[in-house]
Symmetry: C2
Subunit: 339 residues, 2 copies
Amino acid sequence: MHRVTIAEVAERAGVSTATVSRALSGGRPVSAEVTRRVRKAAAELGYAVNPIARALRNSRTDTVGMVVPSISNPFFTSLVESVEHALGRDGKELFLCDAQSDPVVEAKRLASLVSRNVDGIIVSPTHGTESASAVLETARRLPLVQLDRFVGGTSTDWVGVDDLAAMRLVLDHLHAAGARSVAFVGSLLTNSSTEQRLAGFRRRSAELDLKVGPDSVLLGDYSVEWGEAAAGKLIDAGEPPDAVVCADDLIALGVTRGCRARGVSVPGQLQVTGFDNIEFARLSDPALTTVDQPRERIAAEAVRLLAAAGKADAGEKQASAHIALVPELVVRQSTKPVG
Amino acid sequence: MHRVTIAEVAERAGVSTATVSRALSGGRPVSAEVTRRVRKAAAELGYAVNPIARALRNSRTDTVGMVVPSISNPFFTSLVESVEHALGRDGKELFLCDAQSDPVVEAKRLASLVSRNVDGIIVSPTHGTESASAVLETARRLPLVQLDRFVGGTSTDWVGVDDLAAMRLVLDHLHAAGARSVAFVGSLLTNSSTEQRLAGFRRRSAELDLKVGPDSVLLGDYSVEWGEAAAGKLIDAGEPPDAVVCADDLIALGVTRGCRARGVSVPGQLQVTGFDNIEFARLSDPALTTVDQPRERIAAEAVRLLAAAGKADAGEKQASAHIALVPELVVRQSTKPVG
DNA sequence: GTGAAAGCGCTAACAT
DNA sequence: ATGTTAGCGCTTTCAC
């Protein structure tokens, strides 16, 4: 139950601890013969570096921290998987934290990651304004990339999807599928995703001359329950729209349920679209037409930015990058087929 | 961009570094006056302990590692949430790792957690046999609790659900709901969950004199796709059973879809049950009758065992505990109402 | 109750 | 190419 240290390897190989360090991890030249002896000794003893000692010495941990708003939201877990893929290629590990949709918890997690000397942080902020101070403060101390969502003063790197382009795809499709009046169901405007998507929705629906009734923009939260409630409001108010555009798939699944509960057929009487393309979007009935986020690409860009920031770190802050990737529309059965 | 150290706090408070350490974290007595001065100095400087230095010194990290088979399985993410709750109460943090359903990745993650000196590990092994060596090896070095699933030689602590009791609940319900022939759809017998559940299924169906056809036990993996395929096999073979018992909710959702695709009504012609009670079990149509796992309780027990093992660690290994909690049946619309 | 000093395991200067 | 040594920031004897 005793941990093998570098000193024991050194003794066994008949060299100094410095040489062991260099032979195993160092960039510095060590003779082939010695390297071989050291490797052998290390293997025999079952030596593994102590990352804690190394981190204390190097102030580098080869670990990236990630904070997501909610680990139970399938979109974020799929994003986590993609980030792990991308980091794996660089030999880095991921320290994942759940903010539990609470900016206070989020701030704690960020502080904890900083104090643990992670090499960089990937965060999708829970709240558009309340998360701002913690995120910006963290960004002053460490390389930080915002993913998907972002907070107010966008002075940090960000990677996400082009929400405006996404809404163009969605509305163009609905227009082609015969919709003439549309509604939008999102979360309260406390995060950038809904904000951007709503802006895109308004702009494109105006351009296409799609009617948006006065009570046709409903904001709640990212949940099935809210989608269900929103569908109720739209239908019970009379004159429901031809189509409902949702800010994420969970909401869209709820809207679909709400419609069914009230005997409104989807897509027959009312078309529904989602956003994110989570697995259940494909599995629900009717399968959801939605916007597919290029997760792997998003994750890869984020990891790249983080690595770049880590290197440039010495040479003071460089200009921050905002990378908006263009998403794809996945057409399924919750919207009408287009000629 | 400079990190405040204990030395600076000491200087400002006019005391030694040892005193600062004792005043802030130590159990040792420090005069009230000095404590106050130290606290003040620390606050003014914005001091926060460096967990890495502390860990190197103490070989304790106040961090627990957790490894789950798949972070995209909603059951495991909900379990993670519960574990976080339980740990939060002890002021510990969670280092979460995804094994990507691969024993090789799992072994790497376990090794990494060990080398990072986490105080203990909670793991739900991906594989009943292939995970065994890594899990047992890890358990020799650190307090370790298996959650939900477990590997072969159960010489470590384990917390989960009483699968046999669960199957009794399920089959008793189906029997009361009029089913006379039943089938079972699970994953290959490479993990304890399916194994136990299948054993419980066989025993109770025999006791109740429920018919289990020769081709009525289908094993694949924990996925919607497999459930769908399995439903196809059962139906296409002719003489489908009255009810299909599934080893988890994802499979059950798939079976339901498969039935619908073939025009078999659920629960009219065929009843379906799941296991876990993930969120989508409630949301699917028809809503799924399933076994609810007492996640919070499972998590709390796991954390308690880990803490106990941590303390007892000095006094050599104590007997390991196997805690099987009794689950509840949640009756919804995928089974027929009972008188 | 408080201070001085050693040392956790590692790596980067600085020798040689 | 290799060895010697200092020190990352903290806690904990051991003195007083």
